[in-house]
């Protein structure tokens, strides 16, 4: 049986935890409001490249040997299954084709931590120190540049991120990206007016940064909303725990008083 002091200590620490989760919820609510505002303009940014792929009918599912997967997570946890659902998708894909030459590009510490035990040999680039602040275009451009400057020449690539749907739901999306050669050799490019290889190359390089930027904004909004929900749940659970601990505390206190009274009265009775 716990002594009164043990219960009191425990009660105090749970109360402190609830204070922390409550304020984390407030912070992420504020950050989420901003992320959602940014998302509106960023969405139209991301649709540009997607519209072109669609009208070029480049939607083929087949994977080329040099495949690449770009995972957009962040450094920070405590946000539900946001990061693990991305990593789970990657793990499932890699488990299907263990011999393939698929390489991984990871953004954020969480992705690295979750994948490094199994797929360390596939890591191509890892970007950390990301996710503390709202994503900037310059970060997307930096990632795109590093991908393009890398020796590994990808033919097809998937961009994995969480697409924001509403405050309580997001969807893990695998968005296909195309290399310059795939675009330049597609049949539909012939119906496009006045296009040479240099234009396609510049276009594709900028479109890569665009897609990453839009995905980052979507991912940030999903992450903040998921953190908000997670912290709300944590505060609620802490509240339940506080209720039951307070009950135990009061009962124990009452028992202590009763016991002391019994001791005093029986002591006095023994003296008579």
């Amino acid at each position: 049986m716990a002594t009164l002091k043990d219960v009191a200590l425990r009660l105090r620490s749970v109360k402190n935890i609830q204070k922390i989760t409550k304020s984390m919820k407030m912070v992420s609510a504020a950050k989420f409001a901003r992320a959602e505002r940014d998302l509106k303009s960023a969405r139209s940014y991301g649709e540009g490249a997607a519209a072109l792929y669609k009208s070029m009918e480049l939607d083929s599912e087949e994977k080329k040997p040099n495949h690449m997967m770009i995972a957009l997570c962040s450094d920070r946890g405590l946000c539900g299954a946001v990061h693990s659902s991305i990593c789970r998708t990657i793990k499932a894909d890699l488990a299907e084709a263990p011999e393939s030459n698929t390489k991984l590009i990871l953004v954020g510490d969480k992705a690295r931590a979750q994948l490094q035990r199994l797929h360390r040999s596939r890591f191509l680039l890892v970007f950390t120190d990301y996710g503390r602040k709202p994503p900037q275009f310059i970060e997307a451009a930096h990632i795109a540049r590093e991908i393009l400057n890398n020796d590994f020449q990808f033919e097809t690539a998937d961009l994995l991120y969480n697409k924001f749907r509403s405050v309580i739901s997001y969807e893990t999306i695998k968005e296909p990206l195309r290399s310059v050669d795939v675009i330049a050799n597609s049949e539909k490019i012939l119906s496009y007016d006045d296009v040479d290889h240099e234009v396609v190359r510049s276009y594709q390089e900028f479109a890569l940064a665009n897609s990453i930027y839009a995905a980052m904004k979507d991912g940030a909004a999903s992450e903040q909303s998921a953190r908000m929900t997670a912290m709300d749940n944590a505060s609620k659970n802490a509240g339940e725990m506080i209720d039951s601990l307070t009950l135990t505390y009061n009962r124990t206190r009452q028992a202590v008083i009763t016991r002391e009274l019994i001791e005093i009265i029986s002591g006095a009775a023994a003296l008579e």
Partner: protein, 164 residues
């Protein structure tokens, strides 16, 4: 190799002929709308809005886009993007660089790396920036840094031109 290229050009040529044949007045009438998406990373100026015409600066020359424009992709050169809206007014924006895609369904995406309405530009700041960029061109140690500084200088020159 040569024959392969020839056939490709032929197909392309044929493709154009077919396209030109299909563009007559009767067909153009129902598709008389141009859905413009014009955005910079921080702000969306137009999001699938109906406009009359858009003039854009590109490395293959400045061009105007009307409904039923032939599909194309292009890269933006620093300069002024002019949007002729449905109600007859025109809006001018400055764009530094980015992508233009015109699709077969008369949707246009203009995605600029940086863009802002023309009246927000500061000519004085641009002149200072130009001086600095020109200094960097002369003092640049590598080819890459030189090219970057030249691109910046070019952009500033266009801003100064646009504000005059």
């Amino acid at each position: 190799m040569l024959s392969a290229r020839l056939t490709r050009q032929l197909v392309r040529f044929n493709g154009r002929v077919v396209l030109q044949q299909s563009r007559n007045y009767a067909d153009a009438a129902p598709a008389s709308q141009l859905l413009l998406t014009f955005a910079s990373p921080n702000q969306a100026f137009y999001s699938k809005q109906n406009v009359k015409q858009v003039d854009v600066p590109s490395f293959s020359g400045n061009f105007g886009i009307l409904p039923s424009h032939v599909p194309t992709i292009a890269v933006i050169k620093p300069g002024i993007v002019t949007v002729y809206e449905e109600d007859g007014t025109t809006s001018k924006y400055f764009a530094s660089s980015g992508n233009i895609s015109v699709n077969a369904d008369s949707t246009v995406q203009i995605l600029a790396e940086e863009a802002c309405p023309l009246d927000q530009l500061d000519a004085q700041a641009a002149r200072e920036g130009l001086e600095k960029a020109n200094q960097q061109v002369t003092s640049a140690s590598s080819d890459e840094a030189k090219a970057e500084a030249q691109a910046a200088a070019e952009c500033y020159e266009e801003i100064i031109k646009a504000t005059n």
